[in-house]
């Protein structure tokens, strides 16, 4: 770590990129395995991990492609590592099949997706939030994903640490959804967790191997399959499996497995949901956004408030599971008339927002998809247009 200033409490203060913040977050969360493949705009994470991992006795490997990267990450996670990979749109698409495997066998891992504009090669160095839906529905079949986001460099650091904690708590892949702007932007970063935090530890079974069933869920529905090589020999398969891990096609067992994959997240929504509110108490008009779009929306809200227009902002830190229950509650409390969804794509986050809100609240999209960040002034104009229409 370079020479740095400290806060009065003794925490290091840096002027760092979002991608660098992500690296520090991963290390302070106890990450000890990273496999990746360079791709703009997430390369700084891969480079940072290459620099830091050997210093902390961790493993860094640059694999032959993103499919191999996520494969190695899942393999290491199966062997008990606290593992992570970082990529961007095209790489995230390549990873999808194996991410589905990780959902099925219920292994904890973290995937950072620094979004860029798509489809295909798109705009590699420009910003987009086009993977909002892919992060939720990317792999085939039904499952429930945990996707977290950040709007500042400091939040990137905090959210990366949280992603590792969530992954281990729910034994599932967690996607950290950043975007090019957050990844490449430099801001003040306080490394608050450098001493205080205990690194994430993998959960080990406490019962003897002969009684052990890897997928026998406890009451909270979260099974933690034992790491390979600890004396618990069992079958891990991407096929639908029973509690002992063997393939099954019995309808009742298939139903059970599918319900577990969904409910182990949904029943713990309260612990996963996370958002920041700005001026929502009396918000007649509400903006919902995340990441860089939320930064622009924040500016717009300040401007509109100065003009005595009662606008509030919900800045989502957990995108999936989507806060279906809290959002209408906030809107009802504030007697909200209209909701605006600001995003850097052609309209993805607007769908769950529309689904969550009652019919009498009108939902409008504020969209930009030319590779540049939303302009606060642009948002101000659009909001005023709709209000005074």
């Amino acid at each position: 770590m370079p020479l740095h200033r400290t806060t009065p409490e003794g925490y290091p203060v840096l002027f760092a990129q979002g991608n660098e913040a992500c690296v520090y977050g991963a290390i302070h969360a106890g990450c000890n395995f990273f496999a990746g493949y360079p791709i703009t705009p997430s390369t700084e994470i891969t480079e940072g991990m290459a620099r830091e991992m050997p210093r902390f006795n961790g493993i860094f490997i640059q694999m032959e492609d993103e499919i191999a990267s996520i494969g190695a990450v899942i393999g290491a996670s199966a062997a008990g590592a606290v593992a992570m990979s970082a990529t961007s749109g095209p790489g995230f698409s390549l990873m999808q099949e194996n991410i589905g495997y990780a959902y099925m066998v219920q292994l904890p891992l973290v995937i950072v997706n620094v979004q860029r504009a798509g489809p295909s090669t798109g705009l590699p160095t420009k910003l987009s939030q086009g993977d909002t839906m892919q992060a939720r529905w990317g792999t085939h079949g039904d499952y429930t994903a945990i996707v977290v986001a950040a709007a500042t460099v400091q939040e990137t650091y905090n959210v990366t640490i949280r992603a590792f904690q969530l992954a281990e708590r729910f034994s599932t892949p967690v996607v950290v959804l950043l975007d090019e702007l957050i990844g490449h932007m430099r801001e003040k970063l306080v490394l608050k967790e450098i001493k205080r935090l205990t690194p994430v530890q993998r959960t080990f079974p406490k019962i003897p191997p002969e009684w052990y069933f890897p997928y026998k869920e406890p009451l909270d529905m979260v099974a933690h399959p034992a790491p390979v090589g600890e004396g618990f020999r069992y079958s891990m398969t991407g096929l639908i499996h029973d509690k002992s891990g063997f393939p099954t096609a019995i309808p009742s067992e298939v139903n059970h497995r599918m319900e577990i994959l969904k409910n182990k997240i949904m029943m713990h929504c309260q612990d996963i949901w996370n958002w920041k509110e700005h001026y929502t108490e009396d918000a007649k008009y509400l903006i919902v956004a995340y990441g860089s779009a939320a930064r622009a929306a924040r500016g717009a809200v300040e401007t509109l408030r100065n003009r005595r227009i009662r606008v509030g902002l919900i800045d989502l830190k957990t995108i999936w599971p989507f806060p279906y229950r809290p959002l209408p509650q906030i809107a009802e409390k504030a007697k909200t008339k209209r909701v605006f969804v600001a995003e850097n794509n052609m309209g993805q986050l607007i769908h769950p927002v529309r689904e969550a809100l009652p019919q009498n609240i009108k939902v409008h999209g504020i969209r930009r998809y030319d590779g540049y960040s939303l302009d606060p002034y642009e948002i101000v104009q659009l909001v005023k247009e709709k209000i005074y229409a």
Partner: protein, 277 residues
């Protein structure tokens, strides 16, 4: 009930049998060879990670009492790489079919060989996609009929041994199901070997390959292997024309080279020493 042989302690036979494999398939014999090899080497079951992708042969981990991972199609070697890096003391075995390792997983195959990471790859080559019902594989001989080459295959075949040698694998061998003792022997050598080891085993698929090409009789297919196998020593004196259509068997390379997990450990030591300075 027949007497249980010594390999049963390595099988999940009470839970998972019968297998998915057809009568006359070679994969069962190879599974027996792998078990006998491991038994001879006296490796504890807990120290073995057995990884496979998707396909007929890749169903093997479900039946074996090791730490088994049945992963995604073609990607078994990447999962194995992750396991080996995090637990360098484990014996990591990968079983792969010809489609799994050479078509969809070709990239991972050459890169695992290039790194010379200590993984044992047992490549079961039956020249066809069996599980999906008999489609052309990258190892299907020219002219052979398959469901996606119904008028005879026009795609030239891969030679996995040459591929592994060129990519830098430090142990490369080939055998047949017919020569099952030789196969067991090579598997043992490959497991003991430090570095990336590949054993290609020519197997028979009576249900798909045999049925579409002349004979579905496993006995005849096994005799074909016997007739066409040429030991490496004999093959050296034979001309290219004589070797056409033959299977050259033997150990093609057995050298000790720097192994990836060892190299990585040295790299970490070097980095940390520089840090202290």
């Amino acid at each position: 009930m027949h007497e249980l042989t010594d390999i049963y302690e390595y099988l999940r036979w009470r839970k998972r049998f019968p297998t998915v494999w057809c009568a006359g398939c070679g994969i069962g014999s190879i599974m027996g060879a792998i078990i006998r090899g491991i038994k001879d080497l006296a490796i504890p079951k807990d120290d073995i990670a057995f990884v496979a992708g998707i396909g007929c042969s890749s169903r093997m981990p479900v039946y074996l009492d090791f730490n088994t991972l049945h992963t995604t199609h073609g990607r078994a070697l990447t999962f194995a790489t992750g396991i080996k890096l995090h637990r360098p003391n484990m014996n990591v075995l990968v079983v792969s079919g010809d489609g799994d390792a050479l078509a969809i997983g070709g990239n991972h195959f050459i890169h695992a060989a290039r790194r010379n990471i200590d993984i044992t790859l047992i490549l079961i080559n039956n020249g066809i996609y069996g599980m999906t019902g008999g489609q052309v594989a990258p190892t299907t001989p020219l002219g052979a009929r398959t469901h996606t080459m119904p008028y005879g295959n026009i795609d030239p075949a891969f030679d996995s041994v040459e591929l592994a040698l060129a990519a830098g694998a430090s142990f490369v061998a080939r055998s047949t199901v017919y020569a099952i003792m030789q196969t067991t022997n090579y598997i043992k050598k490959a497991i003991k070997h430090i570095g990336f080891s590949m054993v290609e085993i020519i197997s028979q698929c009576p249900t798909q390959y045999g049925r579409l090409n002349n004979t579905a009789n496993p006995r005849e297919l096994l005799l074909w292997q016997k007739e066409h196998a040429v030991p490496l020593a004999t093959a050296k004196d034979m001309s290219k024309d004589d070797l056409k259509g033959k299977i050259i068997t033997g150990v093609f390379r057995d050298t000790r080279q720097s192994e990836y997990t060892e190299t990585y450990r040295q790299y970490v030591k070097k980095v940390q020493a520089e840090m202290e300075e």
